[in-house]
Symmetry: C2
Subunit: 547 residues, 2 copies
């Protein structure tokens, strides 16, 4: 081979091998396995598209069915390891090495496979971090992706669930890799072109639509009064005080409660138009009442959400949509928006330690990171000021100057106790023990304490920006940790001093009457309410329908 053109020659050889099974760009579904066996080589870096939402599930099953004698030791480089087929790759020896971001339902299976030596883990990433490595040292040789429609030239319409596809395809196609797409339909004319056909080598029409998980749907019926209290504190004590207009919400009931309180409680505080106007967010159904009430100016989405497509098509002033009328999502761009153009990230977590480090690791489960560490970190390359960002930065120092940079507000919202009354505040994260057990160089910390600015529990808000030194910080965290052991370990004098200085704030300090906390405050109290708010445009998945 020519010394400078080996990749393109290798690509041609693979396409040549595929020619025996696929003479054209369009390949029959029953030839899919043969195609994969023809174009994939042992040791290849393979990206099987799939994040926390859309999945190239047919191609995943095909890859899990190839002959491990022919294809083995693959290096899987992809956002999500969430399907049984993904795990099967490792169980069968088809794949060996793994670099990923999110596991969701397969967290326990990954932990078992790691312990059993069937997965050799590169690292757990945030999405944008893994995408970044696609262009540096983890460029895929083969990408197996999913789209809604293809035309005969291989142009792809990914529709509302565009998500990771453009990034995966760009990394693979422009480095002489092979791109194979499963599509729901092959049509003569696409509604729009999301991926140009000259980047796509093979298209396979599959007789079932690619799978999409409704991960960002939270049923308002399950929101508790404790969560409503925390949401009220967050709105009054953080959103309003910093004037947060550009933000991202993580998944979870407390943030769903905030979304549902904007048009009610937020309205009574006179905050409409002053907070929460511009979002980097998945299309949470619980945002519908705020949108319908005119709170939301613009939302850019990582992905879509099952049932929300018609609603978003009918609200193009708010959402990014194509000229065809449907949503255009893009995970990389939305993660970038969350990192650099949002003033706040607020999300739930499962464990917080005395330094404010948090983790969603629980014993025997590797949940991955997804997007939270990216959104929940201070973008130190940011140079544009905003009132919220400047105020946060100035709180962290005694004498601000024009050299004092701002800070991203990173808020952790959680109840002091979780399921089965396990304390959410701990001396040491479970992630530390896991790192030791599995010989990780780094404990899988979701958000580091030095990036967290506020912790909200039912007991109050701890403003970590105002703390001077680790001692005060620890007392501030203990001071909102309720009746957990960490909370009971507080120094009562120190806690009262912090409260006097406004570092710890109780509901009563914020003028929130505990008796007024009620589910009646929620703009929608059920999925049916959300559908009604949307004028019937939101079509909840059947598992959420009970009327």
């Amino acid at each position: 081979m020519n010394g400078w053109n080996r990749q393109k020659q290798d690509r041609d050889a693979r396409l040549g091998a595929a020619a025996t099974s696929a003479s054209r760009k369009i390949v029959a579904a029953d030839q899919a396995k043969a195609l994969l066996e023809a174009v994939i080589r042992p040791g290849d870096r393979v990206c099987l598209e799939g994040d926390n939402q859309k999945q190239a599930d047919f191609l995943a099953e095909c890859l899990a069915a190839v002959d491990p004698q022919r294809i083995h030791d693959l290096h899987i480089v992809q956002s999500g390891l969430v399907l049984q087929a993904h795990i099967d790759l490792f169980e069968k020896g088809i794949a060996r090495k793994l670099d990923f971001s999110y596991s969701g339902p397969q967290g326990a299976a990954i932990a078992r496979a790691l312990t059993g030596g069937r997965i050799e883990l590169g690292a757990i990433h945030t999405y944008i971090e893994l995408f970044a490595r696609y262009f540096v040292d983890l460029t895929p040789h083969v990408a197996l992706i999913a789209a809604v429609e293809a035309d005969h030239a291989g142009n792809l319409y990914t529709g509302p669930n565009t998500e990771d596809t453009p990034t995966i395809v760009e990394a693979t196609a422009f480095k002489s890799g092979i791109v194979i797409a499963q599509v729901n339909r092959i049509v003569d004319t696409l509604p729009r072109v999301d991926i140009p056909g000259d980047r796509v080598d093979f298209v396979i029409q599959v007789d079932r639509p690619f799978y999409v998980e409704p991960l960002f749907t939270r049923d308002p019926a399950a929101i508790t009064e404790t969560q409503i209290l925390m949401a009220m504190m967050a709105i009054k004590g953080i959103y309003a005080e910093y004037g947060v207009t550009r933000l991202n919400h993580g998944i979870g009931f407390p943030t769903a409660a905030i979304e549902l309180l904007l048009p009610t409680y937020g309205e009574t505080l006179g905050l409409k138009g002053r907070i929460a106007t511009h979002w980097a967010l998945n299309p949470h159904p619980t945002l519908i009442p705020a949108i319908e009430s005119g709170w939301v100016q613009q939302v850019h989405c990582f992905g879509s959400e099952v049932g929300m497509d018609n609603y978003m098509s009918a609200r193009p002033d708010v959402f990014f949509t194509g000229h065809d009328g449907t949503l255009r999502s893009n995970r990389l761009l939305c993660q970038t928006a969350g990192l650099y153009a949002c003033d706040m990230f607020i999300g739930s977590t499962l464990q917080v330690d005395l330094m404010g480090n948090s983790s969603t690791v629980t014993t025997g489960r590797i949940a991955g990171f997804g997007g939270a560490p990216n959104m929940g970190s201070d973008a130190r390359g940011r140079r544009h000021p905003s009132p919220a960002w400047l105020k946060a930065g100035r709180e962290a120092v005694d004498e601000p100057t024009t050299l004092t940079r701002g800070r991203k507000l990173v808020v952790q919202i959680l109840e002091t106790f979780g399921d089965k009354m396990t304390p959410n505040f701990v001396e040491t994260l479970d992630a530390v023990a896991m790192a030791k057990d599995l010989h990780f160089e780094l404990a899988p910390v979701m958000i580091y304490g030095d990036d967290v600015t506020h912790i909200v529990t039912e007991e109050g808000i701890a403003n970590l920006l105002l703390c001077r030194g680790p001692g005060e910080r620890e007392q501030a965290i203990r001071g909102v940790a309720g009746y957990t052991e960490v909370g009971r370990g507080r120094d009562p004098v120190a806690a009262e001093d912090l409260r006097r200085r406004g570092i710890i704030r109780r509901p009563e300090d914020l003028g929130i009457d505990l008796l007024a906390v009620s589910r009646q405050l929620l703009a929608a109290r059920s999925i049916e309410d959300l559908a009604r708010w949307s004028g019937g445009l939101y079509r909840p998945p059947s598992r959420f329908r009970n009327w």
Copy 2:
């Protein structure tokens, strides 16, 4: 207008207005001004594509020629404000507000226009930060872009200079904006599709190619022995010690010297394959010898570089290229790669203060930031370990644990004195005085001191990671600041203590013989040498040709 569809109705109204002057997608060049007057409205956010390299220069001139009675008070949101036409927009009142990243040659004109009240400045951004805001609160209403070729459906081929185009078009087209492209040629069949035609509203063929600035070309003939000494220290004292494989270089002669020393000095140190293998980098001509010597495995590029296109087409194993054989660059993706997938940024600066803050601002000039603050910052959302990153993180603390995260290596390389013997080390950055004069909320700091890990001068390397506290940090900086006033203000005892602890390292501490420092070490000593290394594939722009 319908309450939820105003943007699309507005878009239709603009397209309707354009129909009088342009009945089809292809518009004649002499109709361009009329088209702009038809589709742009006062107060619009407009992105005139142009960064530090490519420019939609024809469209910039057309916009500067519109009737200010019809089009005024535009809000310019774009990477670069570098052409005379860009400044004219503000001088004529066509534009009023500005959010940008980079000014280059117009830095003095911007400062004058700001002082004169003709520009209302939003903020100076890093590229990726401005792109992020395109999806949150600075979405363009109109994008005026540049491509090499279009077909009759409006599909665009941007060729090697793809750069910002996909990001600008995505933000504009998917939020009901108008996209107008100037192209060098209209053809029947494109070499490849960089931008799908359904995102492009109008195409204008212009009788001269869009302008590209050869910003990243450094003539090896101008590299001094002082720069070679600094480059040797950086290679031996930083690249080798941390095992830096994934990196970005800023613009400048010291980093050009490093590139040219890899195949010579680096080879003698046995570092080939152990450092500098994977790059997020513009196609610096000075990297050619390292590529030809087999040092470089992969390079992803922000943009192209004048004269490098044929060379890159002939080296597809190293560069990202399309199936048509030419480079695919992408500024957003490469900035993301630099932020999240590189272990080191090294760049030159003009001023460093006692805390290590640096700036390229000089009196009366607003140079902008470009990409450096993004690349030169610690990505706190990063979760994947690498040896270089872990070592840097562990040096910064006394007792590392699995909760100790790593650090991006951020290296500033500069001579102690600059042009006309002005000291590069100062007590207070000129940027601070500028912020006061112009009432900026933030001084325009390029890289903040708390992100800098090493400073390299001809006097030595200061490792700021190993400093404990601001006092040591100041002495470490003074300790490499030579005969500047800052350098002469050092405490000699403290400096010797820092040297003993390896925090300050002199050339002799690194085993570098000052007598061996010579231009003979450069793998190429002229532009002609670079062209020769490339086998004639690199075609330097005429201004760099003197043979």
